[in-house]
């Protein structure tokens, strides 16, 4: 793909891509940091994650501004227009991921107050690894302009949904076993929910990225395997 005749146009587009890149890296850092803090009860790390969110918000506002200015100035067409509009959307999703990671980090102290057996968080750990893989993968595939990988990545979200359902049941079981676990398990439930939401946001990002790269929409029917709504009734 050639360069624009007006090179500052290229500079503007590149800047937006860089911002997406940064936000993607930051979201990965925040998610992994939040989980690590949760599992090791590291409040210092949790605090860092919380403060990182401010950076994330700033990045998103900056990207919005730049994108709107670019649209006004350059009247982008075709793939440029898709890249800019897609970028705005992806930034929104990445910023939500940051918020969710912050939310997890905030619960670190609450979970850590009561003794939380390591195995309580075992399910979460597995789930968080999957989510992290998705978060890092989606930006990588976007930059690599790999439409097929993005499609596969979106489909892979079903595994996270399945895992979430099992973590949900597991935590319910823990709570029913020992009422002293209720506080920490409730917080862990929220953390699991946040992780699942992060996964959903990643699929949004993947869909937008796919549209930017190929100009076509992924079929809207996305497999959803979240059966938690039915989970309680079975007990």
């Amino acid at each position: 793909m050639g360069e624009h005749t007006v090179t500052s146009f290229d500079d503007d587009l590149e800047h937006i891509q860089r911002l997406i890149n940064d936000m993607g890296d930051l979201s990965g850092t925040m998610v992994s940091g939040a989980i690590r803090a949760l599992l090791t009860s590291d409040s210092a790390l949790a605090q860092r994650v919380v403060s990182d969110d401010a950076i994330m918000d700033a990045r998103q506002r900056e990207l919005d501004d730049r994108a709107i200015t670019l649209i006004a100035k350059r009247q982008p067409m075709a793939q440029d227009l898709r890249a800019v509009v897609g970028g705005i959307r992806m930034a929104g999703d990445l910023e939500r991921i940051g918020d969710l990671a912050k939310n997890i980090a905030k619960r670190v102290s609450a979970v850590g107050q009561s003794p939380a057996p390591r195995n309580l968080a075992h399910g979460i750990e597995g789930m968080s690894e999957m989510v992290l893989e998705q978060v890092n993968g989606v930006i990588k595939h976007y930059i690599g302009r790999d439409g097929d990988a993005l499609r596969d990545l979106r489909a892979a979200d079903e595994k996270i949904d399945v895992k979430y359902t099992s973590v949900f049941r597991e935590l319910l079981t823990y709570m029913m076993e020992d009422p002293r676990n209720i506080t920490s398990c409730t917080h862990l439930l929220f953390c699991a929910k946040n992780l699942e939401r992060i996964g959903d946001h990643v699929t949004n990002i993947a869909e937008n990225a796919y549209y930017v790269v190929t100009g076509e929409q992924l079929p809207s029917a996305r497999p959803k395997f979240d059966e938690t709504a039915q989970a309680a009734l079975a007990e």
Partner: protein, 271 residues
Amino acid sequence: MNILTEASVEKKLSPMKNEPNIKMRGEKVTVHYGEKQALFGVDLAVPERQVTALIGPSGCGKSTFLRCLNRMNDTIDGCRVDGKITLDQEDVYDPKIDVVELRARVGMVFQKPNPFPKSIYENVAYGPRIHGLTKNKAELDGVVESALKKAALWNEVKDRLQESGTGLSGGQQQRLCIARAIAVSPEVILMDEPCSALDPIATAKVEELIDELRQNYTIIIVTHSMQQAARVSQRTAMFHIGYLVEEGPTDKMFTNPDDKRTQDYITGRFG
């Protein structure tokens, strides 16, 4: 968060599902100016009552193609047109076709507004008069008024019809030229960069006018402004050095064109 609705996805996959009437068609149109060839076998179908935009870099042949449609290329010495161009399935280059009648049925608006140096009334009345479209002055007055109304100019000039046409502003002059073309009841209106000499407000008025006119007339517009082509047309054809590179619904052309040359041109990656 889908950008396109389901319906437009369907439309993208089968562009002309409702298959509107084809008003004018060019088949293997080839044009030579002396030794130099300007168009290489262009095939283009222009649907009825829609705006078709012709875009492309300078010298790509879009104006040449436009001028073939009403045989204005006849006025250029050494210009040879091959291939077939039809209006309602009739070949326009057929010797039996009266070129004077053709040019009334296929009207033209030029890049630089060129009203006759006569009164506003005369400008609009000239066409109907020489073609003998009206029987008396009252009818002619009616035709003039109706044409000026359709060109959204009536309110601005109704009190000064006897003033010179060249005394109007640029935008008004261009609308006068459009009224002049409309007065002879054309079926097709050709516009060769009609807004390139106008300021943004006048341009907006002309674009609004084009939007209204397309309900009754087939419009083909050549434009350098991609944004204008995107705003105004339903179908777009992209020309490049005498070839028709791509042609399709405007929405698709400007969000997701098929051909790389189209993509490069509309995003400004040419040159």
